[in-house]
């Protein structure tokens, strides 16, 4: 009987195909918007989670100056030195320290000429920041100590410079420095802010300091804490040692800052979630508007089909049967809208994922929820018109022109 009613509803819907389509358009757009928002939101959350993982767990970023961002006193604060790195590495709470200095450079190979960033560091950087050498090798201790002109390439830069060719053993030029490529890093993809993490060159820090920058400063210390050490204790120990080394008296403020990267990433991810929720609820409002559109058309339809309702009542349909018919019609209509909306929403989310370079991660739960919700919209907004149809007086209805 229900299947019969659904078939009947489909008949009524296809009889007025254009109007039915326009009617469900509201639901289509609403559902598509919700699906697209949630799917894109989830994709970017996943992106953030992935980059948290790529930062490595329990990693601290130590930089000179009071703040990471904003108008800090960083310029006036003294930089770190390689000795600070060695001293930190000796702390029991610390597993490894990668001193980092970065500089923007143009990498040249043959005719290719690519602006990129050069990170001077040690082989520990690979451990601390979760990089894997895909081909070739990391820096040897001797190369680090001597500041040898060797480099490891990120995947994006390799592609830009070498295309399909194997870069290991090739020599690229940075400024006046000729630099031998000894390794290639496994790609990480886009970072938490959508930046390309693979567009860079790794060189021994001494090579960058001496050959490219002509100074001894270290701009950042990336500190991996030993397993089992809490972030709080790690921060405390690192701060205590650096205050001592930088001769900061009791009561004086730090002239450096210690940042817990995992914390920043989780904050980014929660901002992301709030934004997704906000956009989705705006989209949900359009779903509501779509529902009202369905109600409107169903009311028109009940009026238009007054005679038909009269006939049905005359041949013995009960009020409940007439009500069911119109309710099912509204539900079928909005569910069709829901299905179209899901398809459209997933399509849009897929396109957005391609453009924003984030993973396309449709969630079955959200799709199912959107489907159910669209059916629910049909029930809610179909109820009133259906009740009106069921309450028609058969005599009046039959007389209706």
């Amino acid at each position: 009987m229900l299947w019969e009613t659904i078939r009947l509803a489909l008949q009524a819907i296809t009889r007025n195909a254009l109007r039915s389509f326009l009617t469900v358009l509201g639901v289509v757009i609403g559902v598509a918007a919700v699906i697209a928002m949630v799917t894109v939101g989830q994709g970017s959350s996943e992106q953030v989670r992935a980059s948290v993982a790529s930062l490595g767990t329990n990693v601290l970023m130590v930089r000179p100056g009071k703040q990471m961002m904003g108008p800090g006193a960083r310029e006036s604060a003294p930089a770190f030195s390689l000795h600070d790195a060695t001293a930190l590495a000796d702390l029991p709470a610390v597993q490894a320290v990668a001193p980092i200095v970065t500089t923007g450079q143009t990498a040249v190979f043959g005719n290719a000429n690519v602006a990129t960033s050069v990170t001077g560091t040690t082989a520990d950087y690979l451990t601390v920041s979760n990089w894997t050498v895909l081909r070739g090798r990391a820096f040897a201790p001797g190369e680090e100590a001597a500041g040898a002109a060797v480099c490891i390439l990120g995947e994006s830069l390799r592609r830009a410079l070498f295309g399909a060719a194997d870069p290991t053993g090739a020599v690229i030029r940075l400024k006046t420095v000729s630099c031998q490529v000894i390794g290639l890093l496994q790609a990480k993809g886009a970072g938490a802010m959508g930046q390309d993490q693979d567009d860079f060159i790794l060189m021994p820090i001494r090579a960058v300091q001496r050959r490219l920058l002509g100074m001894q400063d270290v701009s950042t210390l990336s500190v991996a804490l030993a397993p089992g050490v809490s972030t709080a204790r790690g921060i405390r120990d690192v701060e205590a040692l650096l205050r001592e080394r930088r001769r900061i008296g009791p009561g004086q403020e730090d002239n450096f800052s210690v940042l817990d990267m995992a914390q920043i990433a989780s904050m980014l991810s929660s901002v992301n979630a709030v934004l997704t929720g906000l956009l989705s609820s705006v989209a949900a409002v359009s779903l509501l508007v779509g529902g009202i559109g369905i109600m409107n058309i169903m009311l028109v339809s009940v009026t238009e089909r007054t005679r038909e309702i009269g006939i049905r009542l005359a041949v013995g349909a009960s009020a409940a049967q007439v009500m069911t018919q119109f309710l099912v019609e509204a539900v079928v209509l909005s569910v069709i809208g829901g299905v179209l909306g899901i398809a459209l929403g997933l399509g849009l989310a897929f396109l957005a994922a391609q453009i924003m370079v984030i993973p396309f991660s449709p969630s079955l739960g959200v799709v199912a929820l959107a489907f159910l919700f669209s059916g629910f919209v049909g029930v809610i907004f179909g109820f009133f018109p259906a009740r009106r149809a069921a309450r028609l007086d058969p005599i009046e209805a039959l007389r209706y022109q």
Partner: protein, 250 residues
């Protein structure tokens, strides 16, 4: 009708059990000053197998009486026994069940569902009876055959002539094996020849299937097909008399 056997003629006044008994039926619209007594204290008994024509000027209450007999409307007061059962006080849905199980309607304007095939139109009452698809189709086909529309099951009302549309409507009234068919000006929209065909069909259903027929009409010529004529004037029964068997020319 030339082929009708003279000896198969049933008695002019069947004396079957009463199917419809109206006792003091009154239907009032509005209240106070605006009160209108559309039907005013009507007593009427119709027996099973009768073919009754109801006539009367417009506003005489004949349509209201039809609606009450058809369980589409409820009397304001009075008693209505259908097949011995009191139905005046039934609820909407109970009356719907009654219509579904025992009654068939034929209207002046045919009242077929547009853009719906003849077969589906005839199936309509069976849907509400809860019959399965195959059974519905079979019964609907049989009903269409009976009204002479076999082979036109797939036609839309718009593809059928007026006479054919009314045949579909009769098949729809017929398909549930009703005890009573109520016809409200069934020939009002048809020319004389089609009208006669429809009346012949109703006569045949009455005679061969034993279906009681109550028909409202304003054409004497159509009333002549019935066996009994009831005339309403101002909400009351003005005349109630047998109709002489139709002339030999028929």
């Amino acid at each position: 009708m030339a082929a009708a056997q003279p000896d198969a003629q049933p008695p002019a006044q069947p004396d079957g059990p009463p199917l419809i008994e109206l006792r003091g039926i009154t239907r009032v619209y509005g209240t106070g000053e605006a009160e209108v007594r559309a039907v005013d204290g009507v007593d009427l008994t119709i027996r099973q197998g009768e073919f009754v024509a109801i006539m009367g000027p417009s506003g005489s209450g004949k349509s209201t009486a039809m609606n009450i007999i058809g369980c589409l409307d409820r009397p304001s007061s009075g008693q209505y026994l259908f097949n011995g059962v009191e139905v005046a006080g039934l609820s909407r849905d109970q009356r719907a069940v009654l219509r579904r199980e025992y009654l068939g309607f034929v209207f002046q304007g045919f009242n077929l569902l547009s853009r719906t095939s003849a077969l589906e139109n005839v199936e309509l009452p069976l849907i509400y009876k809860g019959l399965g698809r195959a059974e519905r189709a079979a019964q609907a086909r049989a009903a269409l055959d009976k009204v002479g529309l076999g082979g036109r099951e797939g036609h839309d009302p718009s593809q059928l002539s007026g006479g054919q549309q009314q045949r579909v409507a009769i098949a729809r009234a017929l398909v549930g094996n009703p005890m009573l068919i109520l016809a409200d000006e069934p020939t009002g929209n048809l020319d004389t020849q089609r009208s006669h065909e429809i009346m012949d069909l109703l006569t045949r259903l009455n005679r061969d299937e034993g279906i009681t027929i109550v028909m409202v009409t304003h054409e004497e010529g159509m009333a002549a097909f019935a066996r009994r004529l009831v005339v309403f004037v101002d909400g009351r029964l003005a005349r109630d008399e047998p109709v002489a068997p139709r002339g030999q020319g028929g």
